[in-house]
Amino acid sequence: MTLIAETSHNGDGAGSDSVEIVGEGELVIVADGGSLIGVTVRHVGTLVRSDEAAVRLWEHGATVRDNTIMFDTAHGIYVERGGNHVIQNNVIIGRVERGVDDRGNGLFLFDTEGNHIENNRIAHARDGIYLHFVAMDTIVGNDISHSRYGIHSMFSSDIVYETNRLYRNVVGSAFMYSKHMHFVGNVIVDHGGHRGYAILLKDGNRNRLDDNYIVGNNLGLFFDLSDENEIENNIFAANNLAVELFSSSVRNRIIGNSFIGNRIDTLLHVGRHSTVWSTEQAGGNYWDTYRGVDIDGFGFGALPHTSTNPFGFLTRNNPELAAFYLGPAVEALAWAEQAFPLLRVPRVTDERPRVQPDHAALADMRGRLASLIQPLDSSVYAEDFPASAYRRPAGPSFVAALGLLVGGAAMFGPLLRGTRAATSSKG
């Protein structure tokens, strides 16, 4: 069954109008002003990789909002070429009991531009939002969880991602051959396992990533072959490894960020690095491991910060070694290594480290984490939930734990630093 909605197909806004599509059908909106509002669409199919969609948009200018779209092997909403659609306030849910690779994408944007995608709730999809040759879209305030890639961007440019929340996906976001994006104010939380990248840049050039909260991931930000990106004012907290840089990436600028409670802040692979970690005007980053003091009172440490754990590379894939390397031996080693640089491990040198994190941002982050939506009950198929269930704010325990950790670090960091300053001034 394929429904072609030449004009609008609007429900009462409460999701009571419903469409069920069985097997190979699709609900196709041929736009030019067409709309789909307040409808429940349920796609029941069995063929994995059938490439169908519960809702498919053609041409330009459709409005799709306030719908509940449940899909299984098909995609949720498939925007095929054209563009300038508005996709807003939809709940797009895949079938939870299927393996993540056997579901469709939540929102599949293919060769399209100028769409506005806002406040959608996407869960249990393969890729939450998959962009393939997309340009000039705005993707704002969406909530994507329990999917494969939260955001998966290929060959897409000039996209604005703002205040989206990505959590508990296999990979938070991955950008390949993608440039000129503005990734701002997003929250990326709780991506674990060896594939747990919060943000992966591969051949991603000249992007701006500002004011994001990257918390509790295995790997916060990964660069390979990615040049001239500006990473500013983000908070990297409680990650296993906050930033990993291959020396294949050049002329990136990483300043004004706060590194708090990460097991390893930075991992630089052997090679020639050209990353800018501080400038005279803008200063550098806040590192909770920084040991220096602010002598002149302008907020910057008097001594440069160098990454204190030169052995991070040892523990990246061997966490069991962490107990040894995080002990006092590492302190001593770091000291010795600074005096006699035997290891030639490339390390971050931040000439103007900040002595305070961005407290306002931290407070905001705590609020944002607390408002994260409760993960869906994995034992129930999405259709058994009323749509409102997905919008219920609640604080899962891990968020609380993170809040404590981050808050604690922010509060006690300066105190500890004061103690250290006293000690060192004595010596």
Partner: protein, 682 residues
Amino acid sequence: MAKSKGSRLNPVSLGIGVFAVAALVLVFVALGNRNAAEPTGALDAGLAHAKTAVPPGELDDYYLFASGGHSGQVYVYGIPSMRRIRTIPVFTPDPVHGWGWDDESREMLGGYTWGDVHHVRLSMTDGEYDGRWLFVNDNANNRVARIDLDTFAPRQILGPLPNTMGPHCAAFITPNSEYLFAPARFSAPIPHGTYASLDEFGDVFWGVLSAVSIESDTGHMDLAWQLKLPPWNWDKGSVGKGESDGWGFVTAYNTEEATTVLEVNASQRDKDYVLAFNWRAAEQAVANGQYEIIDGAKVLDPVKVPGIAFLLPAGKSPHGVDVSPDGRWIVASGKLSPTTTVFDWRKVKEAVEKENFQGYERGLPILSYEDVRVAEVPVGLGPLHTDFDNDGYAYTSLFLESAIVKWKLGTWEVLDKVNIHYNTGHLAVAGGSSMKPYGEWLVTLNKLSKDRFIGVGPSYPENLQLINISGEKMELVADAPSDPEPHYAEIIPARLVNPLEVFPRERNDHPCATWSHADTGIERNGNEVTVRMTAVRSRFTPDIIEVNEGDHVTIHVTNIDQEPDITHGLGISLYDIAIGVDPGQTKTVSFVADKPGVYTFYCTDFWGRRRGLFRQPPPLPAAPLRARPRRHPQRRPLPRPKSSSHPTAHLRWPRRWPRSRTVVRYASARECIKGPSSSTGA
């Protein structure tokens, strides 16, 4: 503990220093014991690299044969030293070996001056490498070639193959080297030479797979039959073995059949396919006459002959398809996925037997993904290729993460991951494509080296990285630069390869081979001049050749040295000729003497060069004769080699030098010439 850089030595810092030294010792011990580490630190990498040391005078354990991409060559490395030992020219002329100038190699090249070697495949007996031949493809000009591993030189180039365009994943080979397969990555109208509009893409374009038979004794290749497949991009291939013997597998992308803006339109669909084809059934069908002849080839249409070709759905734009050593697991990777898919051969077979199809595409039955897939292994982002070791582990290259991941067959556990630098493509485990892997070493073929080597300008080398996989954890141990661009490699224990030390005289079946100075000479038959020449340290006999302008000159050179490593070369100045002759070998070069004057020829290899007196003749007139008429000696059509005690004694100026004549003048060595008079001169 403050980390201030205070310069004063005080008890506290002294204590820290002592502690630091102790800790450093601990770390060194830990590093030494640790079998696998992320070799990100230079120290770590240095310690790991020590394991690749092959001291001077000692030999490597393995050969790595890497395709040379658009160099048209094959690169041979030793493992673990990663020393590049040899470059074997195949589709590209190479003066180092005289490849492309002597008549035989020139004919084999068929007028093409380059090729694109993507895949190398070692011959197998009972599913194990037998060290006899290496088969390679030419993705550009639709050819395949066989390199004999006794001489490490190409012995046959087959093609251009009819109907098949861009045989990218050729030449994957059956477990007993019965066939190699060459599917088309670039579908084209058939037969070649047919013009068609792209609007007709779905109608007259085909992705034809060639099955090339291999003679079991000689390795001689012939085009046996072809499969007419849909016009998709057939990308990578493997054959079944063990329980899946008799089948072949090929990935396809662009099942959208897009023809423009391919990077967009050829990757829209969420699924593509792995083709499973029963080559024994196809062979039988061809024997039964179920084919049509197109451009001289027997072409079998699997839509008309069911039971031969089936489609397995796979993730978008799949790259590698690799079959485990026992033949049961078929691993295919969608390029953009964070997982790799494992199909169970038994389930595939069952679905085929029960005809349990979910539909058809272009007339070919599609098996249900969920029926045949057994695992999505969470290997990591951007999996491309998988290879196998002898302990049931699989290794997958991750393009997106720039990493290699190790996982376990059967349990599908992911066990270890190591970063590489940068952009891995294929990877090779020793013996990994055979039924008997050797494990121990893995080489990843990285597309980019970026900052890994001292700069050589804006064109960078590629980077082959060696990884020790003998322990529980992988360990990156060496970088080795490579010219562009290895796409695929195979690794074989050195003991399985038995290269010749010299070409035994009794194996030289060249009709114009000449083994003694007395048999050398120059013969004329009309305007055909044949020179039979010997080369020996450090002399060509004859060492003067005098011909007339316009003569067709054929030179047969026999290297009568029988000691290892005494290769001779024959270069003729300004005639653009360079041939290479290994000990015991005879090579023939023929050309038209169209440049009047006096020209040197000399041994390009070490021996001639070393005997500078021989090789550096006194200045010779390069201008036409009339410029120096008085110096011409009496005409002597067939000068004989001088048996002079002085090496330059023969270098006399001719008294008379007709302007219409060309003299090819040798410097030192001697050459063998064959030509039109070879029948009489033998």
